[in-house]
């Protein structure tokens, strides 16, 4: 599988779309070297706005640009993009359904070195809670391209969560991405694994291993966390013996909450793999940190076995 860095792909895609659509503008709060909007800045200096280290002003300024016909991409790390300007996103972006795209980069614990302050583990919960918001999470570089394009075509507020590190391609190049549609990455009949982001890859690895034991996993990419297609989730959860959810996010208000709510009242076992309502911490290696918080293929396999026991 080819490896790609989603934030690099994001930066390149924004430039590519910027060439086709001069309404696109970008704002950053002194993290353009990490979010990769510096690529956009180099290509379109007149359409890039450095907003200093002030995320609240950045979001509301993006609103003003969008109200004047621009498609405004406001960029920061997920913690700062979704957390610091929460009320600005709520009031000035979402009540008026303003065409602002918020990029939460270095999401989850993917900024492994910087510790709890920089690790956005509750951004999906916060963004999902706001009416009129759309929440998208690419599983790889291929889907990042599709999602950024879809966000430009969609008129209204969008939050996109982008991983910091190299990730293997998992999404078929010819899959047509549609906002709101969860889709099967690998067909299977015993257990449905709902995942998003890098965890889709972990689920696929688990599926490969379990296949050798005759256990088949249906791996579903829930790359749209809002709006949630409840009917599709119900269908994808049908005909199997149990459900596993996997997310690089707090167990509060993310994929586990959503799936459990949709499947409420059904007699089906559900196992949730997530960060257990605690903050992250520094580590020298991303995989080591994922392992520490139990976000691994081993954990998925264990959950599957628990259900099938």
């Amino acid at each position: 599988m080819a490896m790609q860095n989603c934030r690099m792909v994001y930066g390149e895609t924004l430039v590519e779309l910027g060439r086709q659509n001069e309404r696109i503008v970008a704002l950053d709060a002194d993290l353009s070297k990490s979010t990769m909007t510096r690529l956009f800045e180099h290509e379109f200096p007149e359409r890039f706005f450095e907003m200093g280290i002030g995320e609240q002003n950045m979001i509301s300024t993006a609103v003003g640009l969008a109200l004047s016909g621009k498609i405004a991409f406001a960029n920061s790390f997920a913690v700062f993009a979704a957390g610091r300007p929460y009320d600005q996103i709520r009031v000035s972006v979402c009540i008026g359904k303003v065409n602002v795209k918020i990029i939460g980069s270095s999401c989850g614990i993917s900024d492994f070195g910087d510790g709890a302050t920089h690790q956005g583990i509750e951004d999906i919960a916060i963004m999902r809670a706001i009416p009129n918001m759309t929440v998208l999470i690419p599983a790889d570089g291929i889907e990042t391209r599709k999602i950024v394009r879809a966000a430009v075509e969609y008129e209204g507020p969008v939050y996109i969560r982008i991983n910091r590190n190299e990730m293997p391609d998992v999404v078929p190049e010819d899959h047509e991405f549609k906002i709101g549609k969860p889709y099967v990455i690998r067909q299977g009949k015993d257990i449905t694994v709902f995942a998003h982001g890098y965890m889709v890859f972990k689920a696929l690895k688990a599926a490969e291993k379990l296949e050798k034991e005759g256990i088949s996993l249906r791996v579903v990419n829930v790359s749209t966390m809002k709006p949630i297609d409840e009917k599709a989730i119900e269908e994808l959860a049908s005909g199997v013996k149990g459900i596993v959810t996997v997310e690089e996010h707090s167990i509060v208000g993310g994929l586990a909450s959503v799936v459990a709510f949709i499947l409420r009242g059904r007699a089906i076992p559900i196992e949730a793999i997530a960060i257990k309502d605690c903050f992250g911490q520094s580590a020298l290696d991303y995989e080591q940190l994922l392992e520490h918080y139990g976000l691994t293929e081993t954990a998925i396999i264990k959950s599957v076995r628990k259900i099938l026991k």
């Binding site: 200093g52 003003g64 109200l67 004047s68 009031v91 009540i95």
Partner: protein, 275 residues
Amino acid sequence: MSISDEKVAELEKIAKKLRYDIVMMIGAGKPGHLGGSCSIAEIIAVLYFHKMRHDPKNPKWPDRDRLLLSKGHAALTQYAALAECGYFPKEKLSTLKELGTILQGHPEMLRVPGIEANTGSLGQGLSISCGIALAGKVDKKDYHVYCVVGDGEIAEGQIWEASMAAAYYKLDNLTAILDKNEVQATGPIVERYDTNPHPEKWKAFGWHVIEIDGHDMSQVVGALDKAGEVKGKPVMIVANTVKGKGVPFAEGKADFHHGIMTEEQYQTARKLFED
């Protein structure tokens, strides 16, 4: 550009009408933002009925001048002016805050023609105005953006983020008006949380500052005219005003930031502004 006595009289009549509508919208026995609405009546009258280039029949006209009330709780004045201009039928004014009305307690752009953005969670309107002004620069448009902020509101840190951005991007198509009515919800600003000194702060942040009496029509007009001539800097008009201006029992009173008029007070206020 000086302004004729006739025009001053006409604008004063409009400000009086705006205050009448504010009082009528609030009514007796219900809370309403009387104080902060009355303090900006002259400023709003000059902007909508003299200074701004706008078209009530085409609220989204791309070349229009824009007005944002960052202190969104004073929306009553803007609602009254928009209705007077013909953005929506005047009968709507009596529906303030009723379930399903277009006239929410704080202004909403998707409900009211002429409202540019959702404001009222304080501190955000100046940043939104900066964004509109930036877009004007990018698109080489000659519209001007006006933004009214409160002297209580500027305790919000975001105001100062915006003030630095406006100066950095040399937004001379942006004029902010500080409604310096000196009273916040819980008392006089100097006693509660003193945001002074205002002109010095804005100058230090890179703005061109003009100080005026915010209830003197010729001064309001003069300052706005002068603001349009400043190049390379955003302009802050520090408008010295009186909270509740024109309503004697409410003037300077924190209780009428969001107060309730008795039936007697309501009748008194109404008669003051009747033609």
